[in-house]
């Protein structure tokens, strides 16, 4: 009998420690700065335990019943703490508030446990024995929890299930206590029913843990996530809402299937249709194969080389049934050569010339990507253009990021290229801009390939006209040693979002 009691002590001690570890780990994982998160979580938890210990003096009657309800409360709050924190992070602005509220609530309840239990047991054992045994098992439970958590629980069960499992243990101890202390307990029936209800709730949580994890992640995107993968280079996420499939790379929208044809037709045809003799085409970036789909509409183009960093990206767009249909199986076409390499370094060691080059990189959101928009890069690009060749550069929005756009134009000029800026409207993106760059003068095409959904030859020249709110503004060229573009870009987009 006595040993069974002490096992309960060890179990509730383990539960208490697990909730503290869950809170500290989640806070570090979601907010970073583990030293700060752990310190403040431990601090507020221990303080709350002190509050709980103090409050125990006000519990005077019905000790066992109070103890059991406290166990149930700890089980519920602690068990769902991890799920609640994940969802709070995904859905609310108040993650920190909820974090510390949960930590303090559990701390107060856990602080009440041992004082109450010792008082329940005080008539069964001599005080000396009681203190020694309760504390011994308290520490043993804590030791077991602190070892299990990193070695077994986090890797095998994950954060959500680990917390729920220990919630079940708390509730189990509560149910068990209704039998252990039945002589000190009046109405047992209602308590047992409550215990059973709590256990069912926690069990249901266990069953739905997978859904909870997904819900937390999916909320970062507006629509249903149909594919998500972390590759070595980025996080690839596909979402779907009705017939609209969207691709996000590291949370940045790349295309919407409803209007991507506008973007890709405008990216390729104003340039390539103006080069009737074009045979060799290079695409840098654009691992979705959608630009290549447009290029393959020219029967005279004999070879398309696609250089994209991420092999998982090009593999996905070669094999996924929906995506391969969207790009018309362009990546598996015999005329297309897919190379997975870092574009700047690849271009540096490559010696070929190309008639048409599509430069479709992610926006210059950081200094690493910014290298792909520098005078050094465009000079190198110029060296790979054939005498009459053209390059087209994805250049962010001339409306939302006006200075960034004209900075890219200026950078191309500084690299010794003639520039022909143009823009169009893509509903999912807004106003979007491209720049054609060449060694020799450019004339818009007189004919476009058949089967286009957006562009016709007479529509091309107007693309090169900019209304007043998108006209050129002064901008320095972007250089490797002075990447003004990253600063412009950050500034431009901050203006929009704040």
């Amino acid at each position: 009998m006595t040993i069974v009691l002490f096992v309960s002590v060890a179990l509730i001690a383990a539960c208490g420690l697990i909730y503290e570890l869950v809170a500290g780990t989640l806070a570090s994982y979601l907010l970073g700065d583990s030293v700060f998160q752990f310190s403040t979580v431990i601090g507020s938890y221990l303080f709350a335990m002190g509050v709980g210990s103090y409050l125990s003096r006000f519990v005077t009657r019905g000790l066992v019943a109070r103890f059991i309800s406290i166990e149930l409360m700890v089980g519920l709050v602690g068990g769902f703490s991890s799920a609640a924190l994940f969802l709070a992070f995904a859905y609310t602005q108040g993650f920190r508030l909820i974090l510390y509220a949960i930590v303090v609530a559990i701390g107060i309840l856990v602080g009440l446990e041992i004082p109450l239990l010792m008082r329940i047991l005080k008539n069964r054992l001599e005080f000396r024995e009681l203190v020694a045994h309760v504390l011994t098992f308290d520490y043993l439970g804590a030791l077991a929890a602190s070892l299990l958590f990193p070695i077994l629980l986090v890797p095998k069960l994950g954060m959500v299930r680990s917390a729920l499992l220990f919630g079940i243990i708390n509730a189990g101890v509560a149910l068990w206590s209704t039998y252990l202390f039945r002589d000190q307990l009046g109405a047992r029936g209602l308590l047992r029913i409550t215990c059973a209800c709590v256990l069912v709730m926690l069990g249901a949580g266990m069953a739905g843990a997978e859904w909870i994890s997904q819900a937390a992640d999916a909320n970062l995107y507006a629509d249903e996530v149909i594919f998500a993968r972390d590759t070595r280079y980025q996080r690839i996420v596909l979402t779907k809402w009705k017939d609209d499939v969207r691709l996000f790379l590291s949370s940045h929208l790349q295309f919407s299937s409803r209007d991507e044809y506008r973007y890709h037709e405008a990216l390729v045809h104003p340039g390539l249709a103006a080069l009737p003799g074009a045979r060799r085409v290079l695409v840098l970036g654009g691992g979705d194969g959608l630009a290549v789909r447009e290029i393959l509409k020219y029967p005279d183009v004999g070879s398309v080389t696609l250089v994209d960093l991420d092999p998982e990206m090009t593999k996905l767009f070669s094999t996924h049934p929906y995506l391969a249909t969207l790009n018309a199986h362009s990546l598996t076409n015999a005329r297309v050569h897919v190379i997975n390499a870092d574009a700047f370094a690849w271009l540096q060691q490559n010696t070929d010339f190309f008639d048409f080059v599509v430069v479709d990189f992610p926006d210059p959101t950081n200094y690493s990507l910014g290298k792909l928009y520098t005078t050094a890069f465009y000079r190198l690009l110029g060296k790979h253009l054939s005498a009459q060749g053209l390059a087209v550069v994805q250049s962010t929005s001339p409306l939302f990021a006006r200075q960034s756009y004209w900075c890219i134009v200026e950078t191309l000029k500084q690299a010794g290229l003639k520039t022909y800026p143009y823009h169009l409207y893509v509903p999912s993106f807004g106003e979007w801009g491209f720049v054609l760059a060449a060694m020799s003068p450019y004339e818009p095409p007189v004919r476009l390939p058949g089967g286009l959904r957006y562009l016709a030859a007479p529509d091309v020249p107007p693309l090169f006209q900019f209304p007043a709110d998108m006209l050129p503004v002064d901008a320095e060229p972007n250089r490797l040693n002075d990447q003004v573009l990253v600063r412009y870009y950050e500034h431009d987009w901050r203006e929009i979002t704040h």
Partner: protein
């Protein structure tokens, strides 16, 4: 009971914060101090087997010696040898390479030279760094150049302005204005010899000068002190105010720099060695230089060279141990420690992006430089960091002793402990740490160095033995080493 339980819980949690040590390989890099100490201890050397007559011998294969060789070769003079004590030439521009990247062992950049630094510009034209007045973009340090870890986060630039008050900012502005005034006097030039005039600024320390000028901002004091530790290996209170001001008042760049390469100045040494390989004899320690009639006899290994002129490009403090009749050289040299850390993954980053030069505020060390920063790649998941530490606190002699006494683990722990402040997960990222101990890394421009008779006597170079090390300028920077080397070569040609 709650207090014991509290302690236990805290202990259990602290134990679970990320600190699973992985084994880290590495050791000391051979720094030549054992060979060097043979000179000091007058160890017996091998008997002579051959005697060669040759007009010019260059002693030392650092930037000064290589620059002397570059000048001789460029003038069409081919009849000389360059003798280097170590197995590889380079001196303070030495470098290494592993499967991730080449990396520097010491000097890692050259500020973009102003118009007055004609010789440096000429060299860079030869090496394709400067073409028709335009600096090659790939050799200019990429953005972002510098960041500082201060008040728990990274900020852009190393002037600690995150929590600076208006008063602090005003002092930074006033300090910059003072530096401009000094620049316009024309006395603070690179090379220093062109402009330097006797100055009362040489009679007090940089720290005293700051106080005299009523600069009180602790951020400004840190910043100036950092500059002195970085360029001279000395605290501001151990640096001549003239030298301290020279650091801020001498540079007139016409482009945002500095110039840098993955292997630091090793890139320049490499290019020079490619051009000059046929003159260079490594593993050849010169142990005696003595007059031989009207010539000089240079003994190195089993060969004696009979030369018309000898360019002594090794650190000048070695001269008394080698050159018969040379007086002791009493320059002060700063001891340094550098380490190369191999990172097979990069630490989690928050705040301002990883820069080329990454400095931690209030650290005794100088921070680290990222060897892969000059890569054209957009995605980098492994790197080499070069950690710099000038042992400026305390006396140079004590610190040299410390360098030799402490084992590798001591320095490994000290380095990781320092980096851990800004990168809590650094221990999980580093697979290897190699440490280089440089007992006499660079000359220290102490108070009075400018007016020192000895410095001026050695720099006079009217004899057959021509001194060329940058320590003749009082401080070891690339431009001074190159200038001294080239000037020594021209003098030597005049003697032949």
């Amino acid at each position: 009971m709650s207090s014991t339980r509290r302690q236990f819980l805290s202990a259990a949690l602290v134990g679970l914060t990320p600190k699973t040590d992985r084994s880290i390989a590495g050791g000391f890099i051979d720094d030549g101090h054992q060979i060097g100490h043979q000179l000091r201890d007058r160890a017996p050397f091998a008997p002579v087997k051959q005697v060669m007559r040759i007009p010019i011998v260059i002693v030392g294969g650092g930037i000064a010696g290589l620059s002397a060789a570059w000048r001789l070769d460029k003038r069409g003079f081919r009849d000389f040898v360059l003798l280097e004590m170590e197995e590889r030439a380079g001196g303070n521009a030495r470098w290494g390479e592993n499967e991730i990247s080449p990396f520097p062992w010491a000097a890692h950049y050259v500020p973009v030279p102003g118009k007055k630094a004609e010789l440096v510009r000429e060299l860079f034209e030869d090496l394709g760094v400067l073409r028709a007045g335009v600096w090659e973009e790939r050799y200019l340090c990429f953005s972002p150049q510098e960041r500082l870890y201060v008040h728990g986060r990274w900020q852009e630039g190393i002037e600690p302005l995150t929590e600076a008050t208006t008063g602090d900012r005003e002092e930074f502005a006033r300090f910059a204005a003072r530096a401009n005034e000094f620049r316009s006097t024309g006395q603070f030039t690179i090379p220093m010899e062109l402009g330097a005039k006797p100055s009362t600024l040489d009679n007090l320390s940089m720290d005293d000068w700051l106080k005299q000028e009523h600069f009180t901002s602790r951020y400004l004091h840190w910043y100036v002190n950092y500059a002195c530790r970085d360029d001279y290996g000395a605290l501001a209170r151990d640096t001549s105010a003239w030298a301290g001001i020279h650091y801020f008042a001498s540079r007139e760049p016409d482009e945002k720099g500095p110039l840098t390469w993955p292997e630091g100045n090793g890139w320049i040494a490499r290019r020079l060695l490619e051009k000059l390989a046929r003159y260079v004899r490594t593993g050849n320690m010169v142990h005696r230089i003595a007059p031989e009639g009207r010539k000089l006899r240079v003994s190195a290994g089993e060969t004696d060279y009979i030369a018309d002129g000898v360019i002594f490009a090794a650190p000048s403090f070695l001269a008394p141990y080698v050159c018969e009749g040379a007086p002791p050289v009493r320059f002060v040299y700063s001891p340094w420690l550098t380490a190369n850390l191999t990172l097979d993954r990069l630490p989690a980053e928050r705040g301002f992006e990883t820069a080329w030069d990454n400095v931690i505020y209030d650290s005794p060390a100088l921070g680290y430089v990222v060897a892969t920063h000059q890569s054209l790649r957009t995605h980098i998941d492994r790197s080499v960091w070069t950690f710099y530490w000038s042992l400026a606190e305390g006396s140079p002699a004590d610190n040299r002793r410390l360098l030799l006494e402490k084992d590798w683990s001591h320095w490994k722990e000290a380095i990781l402990g320092d980096l851990e402040r800004a990168h809590p997960d650094i221990r999980q990222c580093v697979s290897r740490i190699d440490v280089l101990r440089l007992g006499h890394a660079m000359a220290r421009p102490v108070v009075g160095f400018l007016g020192s008779d000895q410095r001026r006597r050695l720099a006079d170079n009217s004899g057959r033995l021509i001194f060329a090390n940058s320590d003749l300028s009082g401080f070891s920077i690339f431009e001074e080493a190159q200038y001294r080397g080239v000037k020594a070569a021209e003098r030597a040609l005049g003697r032949c």
